[in-house]
Symmetry: C4
Subunit: 384 residues, 4 copies
């Protein structure tokens, strides 16, 4: 392995460190350390030993981020085999979302220093490091798609929210300005009360005291609840659709890699894809244990598993399946199966197996034939 | 029955006491008594008669839990007929979730005493008894599966929540630290305000007073509502899926026990399972009353019901069905049916009956033939 | 009409007064007047003229409720033609939910007087009149079914809620009892803080001040949000199912009354029922206006409509349909249709019409043939 | 173009200014300027320069609204070609929702002046301008339909909400009136506490202090959460249905304009419509970029796109499709496609493409044939 490849692996631990969970979350740990030190430093008295120590951590983490940025630029060509030029690969990284976030992380402290603020305040710019978490959360990309999908309705609610807010502030200004000139003396001031009430936060620092102000407040509170409910309802709907879509896409790609399914037509695959679940298993995971009741069967997409039968061990590789006997005959598991290399499995749940049995009997026949063959084999082995 | 079996039944009242609801919830009642006494004791003055009385209850409940733990270990072999050795059965219980919770319940008070705290404080460890409720709630296992199923998206939201919290605290520290050094003098302090606002709790003990602090607060409140709505939406989606899956599985197993459905192919069963609802009925329940309008028919999975016709009573056992005449001919119920032994019924609603009539006419024909036969029988009986 | 029948109509205005909305909500108006007077009376000074006036209203409303109860008992036989005996009909009313609520409404004030409280306080028992609203809201029966359907999961959440509440109170008692003995001096006292925080109400009268108390509070707030989200998710799921079921049932019954659909098999009807919406139209409603674009067609279940064509008016009765031409040919409405007697209509939306066109071409052919016939008829009329 | 047509275009910028986003939101910008000036004016001291300036803006915006109203009446006949008379077109505008809102906007200030209030207060009537936002938000019309669809259940919840509110106020009056006569001295006063608590706003200005008052408060808080959850659940359900319906309708109309689909039967179209998404693209949008991985194909409904192949550019007009090669063969995009005129596209996602491949193989065959033809063409071009 070239030194550039080594550097690439070092600066992209998630991809490189398959199976080593501690190494995989190392970037998050470093980022967390830097942010915690920055936060704690605001509570330390300036110039104390604690301050110096915490500032040191922040500066060290920043140094690491600068180094990572430089090294990632240098090693970028490792990632993209098909790119013709190293310069192109590097530009690609620089312009990617990840590249921009890395740049911002590296520029956080210098930007603070440039403002001429004292060092302790300049350090607050390190808050942009929090973006690194967001980048690495796959759940958030789902959320973003959901929000985009529900955008027209959400815009409608935001408009409604703002109009209600404005009307509430104007009316409360009318009703309360004489009783409480300090809090309701102008509409901008009344807006503070309106937002605190419409969001049902209710600090209680400003409370209407006139009859009409209270009647208005009651309506605003109920309005806040209803707008909130609309929000929740819209997002729930959009989320359900998006989740279904993502699951379908990922599973389809994996199903295409299992030879067992490749003889099927598109219609049958579309049917099956809806029923399969994807599961990533790290080495050492015990997928099933001999003698237990079984509620799912497994297809290996990639990786390796070992089935420990009574008399021998059988290695199972990509494309093979196991666990179908428990579903077919209702018997307890006849073998313990352990993952021996990090694997991607497709799981067929017993509920879905039965739905499939109804819709695609030909598929079940194939699985049954295979299951019967294995059972006889097991029996023969025991008999031997 | 051996004494060990008797002890087993005594320490597992839910399984043993079919039909005796008071006995079935005895463990919860004891647990509740212990917790209430522990709670009330914190309000009693130390050494008073009330204190002694309440401490006594707590200690008694603890004694019961120790006894139950020991007896359950001893009687564990009763539960598992197929286990070869008694030791294995006992180890199985010790390592089960239930076993761990029972152990913690038994060790609660000793753990308190070991800390060297005064007796009244040591007693607070009894709070772990609350776990016993969780263990026994089937609804909670559903919730856990739901949370596991929605895990990636939930992780995304929690990340978002933490990042927003951190940014809110940092900005509020910047905006408010001079106006309110006590509450916003460092980021850790500002975090208190941020969480109170982001969760829309709004105690009002810390309230921003500067213009920018209030603008920030408005955004944080709205952000809190949106994050919350995302949460609700995700959980709603995952919950709907899980509920459907559980219903399908349980009903399938029950349908397999009704001879009426056994002649059907897997596809037809999968169709029917979607439409049937499961209902547990205790002895004495009046399922239908003569002369009422009917909106569902019933299949008996286990237990026994008695149909009281004009001139005689007919016992109905597992596998039999009743109530179809009201659905078929729209006539009022022709008999009162009472459950005479605790039963599990499958219920086919009138809405679903009609859907089924469209999709599976052959099934309806069988039910109709049976219904017509019974009607003639009834008429013959009356004519006799 | 016998005097008993007249009394029956008078005391059941909703059923009798079809088309007279003011009369139909008369019971609610009376009930509201009574409750408002009772509420306002608590603000009037005892013995003042306002007090006497308001008490008078309350007593008058009570008198009406007593009279209604007695008259409803007497006229109950009017409702049930098939009951053999008048006594049976009366007993039926007495034991019905409505009967019990009427009894409670009639006994409200006497129950107050029996307690020996002063008249103004005795009057507070009139709060039970609020039950009358609940009884008359059809939406609430839906809600009750929803809650029953989701019961196991809701029990799980309530358990979780209580366990979290208990643990929060115990921990806050440990963390805060020294700093704030008044508010956290015992677990029962700490429970007040716990519920105010877990529900994210956040009065702010009790606020943790220690570091650990605040960390706990943050978790409790987030826990409150999550539990709430679970609640919303479960109810949303159950509600969606129930709504679908109700719509299906009501529409099925109405479809069965339209001759047009009676020749269809059960499968076709099940398909159509899913697509039709029910609409109650009072006399005078203009269902469609000549020249407008059309987005739905209508089937008359009961009542009467009049189509005003260019040269003549055509009466349309139960079983007939109209408005299909706009859907078939995309032309504007060719006639204005007014409801001339209170009617129940089945509405087929343009979106659903197209789905139906795909699934049931034979049905669309019939509608098309009818539409073409009418168009020619219209042309002939114009040509004449 | 006649001057009337020019005026019409000027006063309806959204319709006229296709592709010019700034002009399209001009009415909102003017409206926002007027509202902000009105709000800011309440904070300026009367008679100051700021006051005069801001009042000037408000009056100017009002003048614009009056002018727009008059000009829209005059130019209304431009909108409706088929109307026989100009008077009819004008009356149509006057009676439309838009006409009413424009009228109210124009009368806002005069109405304020008529009240005889000082000018600064009269200006507050300008709050009705906020209605202009609502009118122009398409999301809000969705929300209104959703609320109408869920109306019966929502009425049920509102009833429940009011009954719970009333009972809470009455009980809190009983429990707390002696301890806090100021806040709970009558039911109307107690209602303030009840609504603040039931909406979980929790100002904290009124807090129960008795044991029973606090137990009641706990129930009211939990009740508030549950009622809120019901609300969210109902709206979520209704929203999901409405969204599906709207999408179906709009897509159907667009599909009908694409010749490719016109040979298909209604059943096939209904199938496809469910899978297509609509996308509005402004000129200059890069729909796909050469070399990228592709996850959707596009049909042009209206407008124009240009595909930049290796050697030449191809213009694509309404009815043509592109991007299918990436889906069919899994190859990266072979061309960059840019929108050259504002267009409406139908997008077929890869997930949905595969579902379609299962359900409608004949359709995929046509797309495949077309794709193969294009690939050969591209190869021929390169070979040339």
């Amino acid at each position: 392995m070239s030194s550039r490849a080594a550097i690439y692996r070092l600066t992209h631990p998630r991809r490189a460190a398959r199976g080593s969970p501690l190494l995989a979350i190392l970037p998050e740990l470093i980022c967390t350390a830097g942010l915690l030190a920055m936060i704690a430093d605001t509570a330390a008295s300036a110039g104390s030993r604690a301050d110096l120590f915490l500032s040191g951590i922040v500066t060290t983490v920043w140094g690491l981020f600068v180094a990572v940025y430089v090294l990632r630029i240098w090693s970028a060509p490792e990632a993209a085999a098909r790119h013709a030029s190293a310069a192109g690969a590097r530009l690609g990284y620089l312009l990617s979302t990840r590249g921009w976030i890395d740049l911002m992380a590296a520029l956080a402290l210098p930007a603070g220093w440039l403002t001429g603020l004292p060092h302790r305040d300049a350090q607050l710019f390190a808050i942009v490091w929090a973006l690194k978490y967001i980048r690495q959360s796959s759940g958030l990309t789902v959320l973003l798609r959901v929000i985009r999908r529900a955008a027209p309705a959400l815009v409608g609610i935001v408009t409604l929210f703002l109009v209600v807010l404005l009307i509430a502030a104007t009316l409360s200004y009318l009703f309360e300005r004489e009783a409480q000139p300090e809090a309701f003396g102008s509409i901008p001031r009344a807006l503070w009360w309106a937002i605190v009430t419409l969001s049902t936060t209710g600090y209680g620092d400003v409370v209407p005291t006139t009859i009409w102000g209270r009647v208005l407040a009651a309506w605003v509170m109920v309005g806040g609840i209803v707008i909130f409910a609309l929000w929740a309802g819209i997002i729930a709907t959009a989320f359900a659709e998006e989740l279904q879509r993502r699951h379908f896409l990922r599973t389809w790609d994996l199903v295409a890699e299992v030879p067992f399914f490749q003889t099927l037509g598109a219609a049958a695959i579309a049917d099956i894809v809806r029923l399969l679940h994807v599961r990533d298993a790290s080495a050492g995971t015990v997928v099933m244990r001999k003698g237990q009741a079984g509620d799912s069967m497994y297809f290996i997409v990639s990786g390796e598993a070992t089935a420990m039968l009574a008399s021998k061990s059988v290695k199972l590789g990509p494309g093979e399946h196991f666990g179908e006997m428990a579903l077919l005959f209702g018997t307890p598991r006849s073998a313990t199966v352990v993952i021996t290399e990090p694997s991607v499995l497709l799981v067929l749940d017993v509920a879905d197996f039965r739905i499939l049995a109804g819709r695609r009997p030909e598929l079940i026949n194939v699985i049954e034939a295979e299951g019967r063959r294995r059972r006889e084999e097991n029996a023969a082995v025991r008999g031997a």
